[in-house]
């Protein structure tokens, strides 16, 4: 099994990325409360996806379901560095971003189960959860579309004189799409408070990143248009947090957008139904050994000296929250055809 290109790939990052990894591993750098929050978020995403997949296999969820398993560190770290009033825009693999942004799990599960009580009343589904009331511009079924939308929110903020920052989560796949260049360039010339986070999981469905581009260090595309751009270990929630914090500072200091490439890997196939056989075992093992949820747990345990029983209690609490959400959703109704027709009449 070949591994040459990947060995150490989350360590050989851009300069700032390595610095952030170092900073994130300093003992006493974080409060217990903060570390617990990080772990809770990462674990909640993990639970949502693992349990959600079960519901999918039971036939309770239909349509698309792209698990965020393995990438939890990114949403967790990024959102922890943002403030109320900030915006996020997401991808087709968007559950993690929602949860890290503080979404109500009841409403998320209800949405996946097509219920009236869901975030979109069952009209949207997994790929379209949005909640603009809290600045979540939403997931997106069109790869790359979140970038212009996020830049738009950042533009709206600037026009209003607000210092809100907008983060768009995007993907390696989207980095070869025209929207990437056009909208990041707009953010740059207008000095917008915009952070583009590329979750480079190195695959688009089954297509390896090396097949899609000659230059797999994606952050260089930002540099080429004058945007401050860095790489970070996407499987290290705290390093991602540090990097985002710095990026948000850069933005709020009026210096314009920052691009962050977070290197990561999926834990399974592209979609619930994709066994992901094409993913090299050794590479998967490399990233599994750097599981972001495990790392969040280890940080809580080791940096804040929290014991296993406390951690187990947190995990049980989150598992219960999900179970309750499933119950809640099952008891919820669906929008009726009559209501739907009345809605259609407003179009």
């Amino acid at each position: 099994m070949t591994f040459s290109r990947n060995e150490g790939e989350t360590e050989n990052l851009s300069v700032l990325g390595r610095e952030m990894s170092a900073r994130a591993s300093k003992k006493n750098a974080y409060s217990q409360e903060f570390l617990e929050k990080i772990f809770r978020t990462a674990f909640k995403i993990r639970t949502f996806e693992t349990e959600g997949i079960k519901l999918y296999r039971q036939g309770l969820i239909r349509g698309y379901f792209h698990p965020y398993l393995g990438q939890e560190g990114i949403a967790t770290g990024v959102c922890a560095a943002l403030k109320e009033g900030d915006y996020i825009a997401s991808t087709h693999r968007g559950h993690g971003h929602c949860i890290a942004w503080g979404a109500d799990v009841n409403k998320m599960v209800a949405e996946l189960l097509q219920k009236d009580t869901g975030y979109c009343r069952g009209y949207g589904g997994s790929m379209h959860i949005a909640d603009i009331s809290v600045g979540n511009l939403g997931a997106n079924g069109i790869v790359g579309a979140g970038t212009p939308l996020g830049v738009g929110a950042a533009l709206a903020a600037q026009v209003r004189g607000s210092d809100a920052v907008t983060v768009t989560f995007t993907t390696d796949g989207a980095s070869n799409n025209g929207t990437f260049l056009e909208s990041l360039n707009l953010a740059a010339i207008w000095n917008l408070n915009f952070i583009l986070v590329i979750e480079n999981n190195q695959y688009a469905v089954s297509t390896r990143i090396e097949e899609s581009t000659r230059e797999t260090d994606l952050y260089k595309r930002g540099t080429a248009i004058g945007v401050e751009s860095h790489q970070v270990d996407g499987n290290d929630p705290l390093a991602v947090y540090e990097m985002t914090l710095k990026a948000a500072e850069t933005c709020r200091a009026g210096k314009g957008p920052v691009l962050i490439e977070a290197k990561t890997f999926r834990h399974m196939g592209h979609h619930v139904n994709d066994p992901g056989k094409y993913m090299p075992e050794d590479k998967l093992a490399y990233y599994m050994a750097r599981d972001p949820v495990d790392r969040a747990r280890a940080s809580l345990r080791e940096m804040a000296d929290v014991d296993d029983a406390t951690i187990a209690a947190i995990e049980a609490e989150i598992a219960e929250e999900f179970e309750k959400a499933v119950e809640f959703s099952k008891q919820s109704g669906e929008v009726t055809a009559e209501e739907f027709r009345a809605f259609a009449a407003t179009y």
């Binding site: 949005a130 997106n140 939308l149 996020g150 533009l155 929207t179 207008w190």
Partner: protein
């Protein structure tokens, strides 16, 4: 209310100016719209008045421009994105069709997208196939979009002001030939709600439906027909989505004959849809088939004579009206 005669482009500028003054959330982006004041001078002076934060030039990136406009609208602002030619909106179709038009449903009804795309279409002066299209039918078909096509300065102003106050994505389609046309525009607050057509000329024998630059041409045809003793009612829907079906059907019930005039090519145009509605709703009240006068089904050529031959002219409208009255040689259907 007092009225002044001003140009279509000035009316548009007034609308932008007044709404920008009234609402800090209104801002404009587009190519060459700031210092240069836009290709048709619609935004002239607005940079000086509202500053570079609210009047911004962009690179040549239509997908990006439209996309950031949609994003800003989702975030609650009131962006106006000016696209130089409606032809170039094709570069941003994903943002229009898959984002702007879908967001409301996808959020269960709560998320709104008060996005306005201003652009212009139509033939004029040999600008050829990629700068001469009338593409309203593409937007018309997509649920969630509003489609506005003003034919007069007063409508241009009133509708643009309304566009900037309502909640849905608006395709505001101007016409390159109309910018320099003059017409009366009421002083002071002048807002026209969407979905309200306008009878530009009352008549009794035939209903002619026309919009945008086909309107002046149709009015001239109506004059010509009046000299022939034919009384034509000319309806301008002003907004194609929503469409004032009521006004159209009422007129049809009166005249029992309809001609629809569109600059866009015939196949799959908006005229076909309006015809399908009329024959569905008023089948038993029609004395003749709904006549459609439309552009040829071929891209617009550069050569000026052929360009003219590719879109409806006054005489085509006259002939169609006469056909619907069975006054020409013989009606097509009876051939």
């Amino acid at each position: 209310m007092a009225e002044r005669e001003i140009m279509y482009r000035d009316a548009l500028r007034e609308a932008l100016d007044e709404e920008m003054a009234a609402n800090q959330e209104v801002f404009i982006i587009g190519e060459g719209i700031a210092e240069r004041g836009g290709s048709y001078k619609v935004t002239e002076g607005l940079l000086a008045k509202y500053g570079p934060g609210r009047v911004r030039d962009t690179p040549i990136a239509e997908a990006g421009m439209i996309g950031v406009g949609v994003g800003a609208a989702i975030a609650g602002a009131r962006p106006v994105v000016e696209i130089l030619y409606v032809d170039f909106a094709m570069l941003g179709m994903d943002m229009i069709v898959n984002q702007a038009a879908k967001f409301r449903l996808m959020t269960g009804g709560d998320g709104r997208v008060p996005f306005v795309m201003r652009t212009q279409g139509g033939t004029g002066g040999g600008v050829a196939a990629q700068h001469s299209q009338s593409l309203e039918a593409l937007f018309y078909h997509i649920p969630g979009l509003r489609v506005v096509m003003p034919s007069t300065p007063a409508d241009a102003k009133g509708l643009l002001k309304y566009a900037l106050r309502q909640q849905d994505p608006v395709m505001f389609l101007e016409h390159k030939h109309l910018y320099m046309t003059k017409g009366p525009v009421p002083d002071g607050e002048h807002v026209i709600e969407f979905g309200v057509g306008d009878i530009k000329r009352a008549g009794t024998d035939v209903t002619v439906i026309a919009w945008s630059n086909m309107l002046p041409r149709t009015l001239k045809a109506a004059e010509e027909l009046e000299a022939q003793g034919i009384s034509v009612e000319v309806i301008d829907p002003r907004t194609l989505v929503p469409l004032d079906r009521e006004m159209i059907l009422k007129s049809v019930l009166k005249t029992r004959r309809v001609v629809i005039v569109q600059e866009a090519n015939r196949r799959g145009g908006v005229a076909s849809d309006i015809a399908s509605i009329i024959q569905e709703e008023a089948f038993y009240d029609l004395d003749a088939p709904v006549e459609i006068v439309a552009g040829l089904d071929i891209p617009v050529p550069f050569n000026l004579a052929l360009e003219a031959a590719s879109v409806p002219q006054q005489e085509d409208v006259v002939a169609a009206v006469r056909r619907s009255l069975h006054l020409n040689a013989i009606s097509k259907a009876a051939e």
